[in-house]
């Protein structure tokens, strides 16, 4: 981000960076930086809060009037996630006990996923490599990997990293509309990610498959990006 600020400024544009990681931004000396201590993925702070977003944007644009730089300013409001927030989001009971738990679970929350997409005007971030009908196929392939099948032979319907983002998105968007859900997508971000990876059958299966791929010697770039980086101690890439 700050690199592009240098590039564009050098080509005659006035730039303002809304930076999210202080230690990186401070070392980059971009012409104008507004450091916003907000969760990664939310540089304007709060979704569906136009007043908050406008305050941030105006604070950034105000730096355009400075006479010299580089300028580094802290935005005064902080939105922190230290990992303590938990969400209340009950999963449906098993419908078909004979089915793989993650497949059964994913089928049960499909309606909730579709309600969230509808409430977002049809917009969804699911669908990078999977269709909704391929979600069961993806979990079955992950189950085969977790059981020892080499990942290239397991029938994954897409790149592992991309597919993992799709599954995570499917669950997190569904969680918003599960019956009795208290999830507020404008405030809960990482709490939803924690819920998916730690409490759902789908998330736990994804992590078991990732661990199996790592232990089987899969390329670092293949298994590592299937989950946030703090979900394991990164080992040196084997190749």
């Amino acid at each position: 981000m700050c690199t592009l600020a240098h590039v564009f400024e050098g080509l005659g544009f006035a730039t303002v960076v809304l930076a999210s990681i202080r230690e990186q931004a401070e070392r980059m000396f971009a012409p104008r930086t507004l450091f916003c201590d907000f969760p990664l993925g939310r540089p304007l702070g709060r979704p569906s809060d136009p007043v908050f977003q406008t305050r941030v944007l105006e604070a950034g644009l105000a730096l355009v009037d400075r006479e010299s730089g580089p300028v580094f300013v802290d935005y005064p409001e902080v939105l922190a996630d230290e990992g303590s927030e938990q969400i209340s989001c009950a999963l449906p009971p098993r419908f078909n006990p004979a089915e793989l738990a993650a497949v059964d679970e994913a089928a049960a929350i499909r309606g909730a996923y579709e309600r969230t997409a509808a409430s977002n005007g049809g917009r969804t971030n699911f669908g990078r490599v999977l269709t909704l009908d391929q979600v069961p196929e993806a979990f079955r392939a992950l189950d085969r990997i977790a059981s020892g099948t080499p990942w290239k032979e397991a029938g994954l319907p897409g790149d592992p990293a991309q597919l993992s983002i799709d599954l995570r998105t499917y669950y997190c968007e569904a969680a918003v509309s599960l019956p009795g859900s208290t999830v507020d997508p404008t405030r809960s971000g990482w709490a939803l990610e924690r819920w998916f990876l730690e409490r759902t059958e789908g998330g736990k299966l994804l992590m078991r498959a990732r661990e199996s791929m790592k232990e089987a010697g899969a390329s670092f770039a293949v298994w590592f990006y299937m989950a946030p980086l703090d979900q394991t101690t990164p080992a040196a890439p084997a190749n």
Partner: protein
């Protein structure tokens, strides 16, 4: 797992060094055309998706709302963007500022790159960055707001 953990883990990663530092003095803000440049890997439906470490860019039509996030990193929250794309791509907020006279106008097109690049960022610095700048220059852009994810 938390946002704070992720930030701590990436805080010390190498960053490019710049020997020349530019500082442009644009016209007063109320006379400026403003564009958004993001590294969120945004693109419109039907467009070629970003690949991992993709150094290319996509032009975003400011009139279109079919915006998808194609960034490859698992290390940030996507739920907020699903709920409201303005939290990454504040196009509606810019329009409101133009209506209020804070800025002169919103650029008709905006730019998206994708983050998670190699540490030198050579292609962005010398190829795709300048190419995107040419596009924004044709649209009369004065000021760029840069947003990461």
């Amino acid at each position: 797992m938390s946002d704070a953990d992720i930030k701590r883990a990436v805080a010390a990663i190498p960053v490019p060094e710049f020997t020349e530092h530019f500082f442009v003095r644009p016209p007063k803000l109320s006379d400026c055309t403003v564009a958004i440049v993001t590294t969120a890997g945004l693109h419109h439906h039907g467009e070629e998706a970003f690949t991992a470490r993709d150094t290319s860019y996509r032009m975003l039509d400011g009139a279109r709302t079919d915006i998808r996030m194609g960034h490859w990193s698992p290390n940030f929250d996507r739920v907020g963007f699903s709920n409201d794309y303005n939290v990454v791509y504040p196009i509606d907020r810019l329009r409101e500022l133009a209506d209020a006279g804070v800025i002169a106008r919103v650029a008709p097109r905006h730019v998206s790159f994708t983050g998670n690049q190699d540490e030198t960022m050579t292609a962005l610095r010398h190829d795709s960055g300048p190419a995107a700048a040419d596009e924004l220059r044709r649209d009369g852009v004065d000021v760029i707001v840069l947003t990461p994810v």
